[in-house]
């Protein structure tokens, strides 16, 4: 709460320049997401267009759901029969990994104030979590404002990309094949940074091991939730030996 107080005082004195310095710090961190989200958002908008939906479908869905892979799934279901329970279960399963992000951010979002915290949680997709968890915030820039700016930037990229895809999707013809790899590369860099920073690499190796094992045994459609359960179980087992080394 102290944080909030000092912020409003700072805003009072030099709000605009402070706001600008936050945006200047946050924007470069979100550039890879800009490339990736516009590409995937356009692809999603084009996909909805090809299913025969007008542009406001991808616009509203991306703004309300804001979870890329689920939006593709629901786009498909919209053309079928109404199955509310199925939608609910699939949505929970596809997005179950968000629970992990929440656990990792529990302490970092503490004391940020109700609205700011609510916005940060509501907009916490994979990419936003990865940046907000790992980014080094420059000195003099408020961490909470930085994270909020990252969240809003990423959100706007996705919604605008999806909307543009729905509007102009068919007119695009330049060769962007392979651009989606930008998100893979971003996660790879963030993983590399974490690997270099951590004193023990056992969490990383546990993550890889469990993910690979579940992918091999269960296939690409069904491996995520079992992999997450297995990771949690393994880390619970490793708590004693790991506790002193994190």
């Amino acid at each position: 709460m102290d944080n909030e107080g000092s912020n409003s005082q700072q805003d009072f004195h030099g709000g605009n320049s402070r706001c600008l310095s936050v945006l200047k710090a946050a924007f470069p961190a979100t550039l890879p997401v800009f490339a990736g989200f516009w590409f995937l958002g356009l692809a999603y908008g084009i996909y909805m267009h090809s299913l025969g939906f007008p542009f406001w479908y991808p616009m509203c869905m991306s703004a309300l759901i804001f979870a890329g892979s689920l939006e593709f799934v629901i786009a498909n279901m919209l053309s079928g029969a109404f199955a509310p329970l199925q939608v609910l279960l699939i949505s929970l399963l596809v997005n179950a990994r968000h629970v992990f992000y929440g656990i990792a951010m529990l302490d970092r979002f503490r004391g940020l104030g109700f609205w700011r915290k609510t916005a940060l949680i509501a907009g916490m997709c994979d990419e936003t979590f990865a940046i907000n968890y790992s980014a080094k915030v420059p000195q003099g820039v408020d961490k909470g404002s930085f994270m909020l700016a990252v969240t809003l930037f990423n959100y706007s990229y996705w919604v605008s990309g999806a909307t543009l895809g729905g509007l102009f999707g068919n007119a695009l013809s330049f060769n962007t094949r392979g651009l989606e790899f930008v998100l893979t590369a971003m996660f790879t860099v963030i993983f590399t940074q974490q690997w270099l920073k951590d004193r023990s690499r056992i969490p990383e190796l546990t993550g890889f091991g469990c993910a690979f094992l579940c992918l091999l045994c269960l296939g690409p459609q069904n491996f995520m939730v079992p992999a997450m359960l297995l990771i949690t179980l393994m880390l619970a087992f490793l708590r004693k030996p790991l506790s002193g080394r994190l």
Partner: protein, 108 residues
Amino acid sequence: MTLAEQILTVLIGAAATQFTRFAAFIFFAGKKTPAFLAYLGKCLPGAVFALLVVYCLKDVSVFTGSRGIPEAAGIAATVLLHLWKRQMLLSIAGGTALYMLFVQTVFA
């Protein structure tokens, strides 16, 4: 599906997504984070970033098509660039450019 059913479908998906994001904060809203969760909060990110990389590569087949060569090259370039220069944007741009080169020319 009628329009009302479509709206309901989207709202269910949105609500379920928000539930997964808020769950940890709802269930552990107490003053102090339980010790086990604090431990998980510290060691999960490393594991989750590994999981996300695997998730991005989940549809790659090493037995058919380009055999995962563009992906392997792109990731190797990304990691090496990062170990060398430690410039996030450079690593991402370099890895992605190499990947795009592979899928647009060699494996077109």
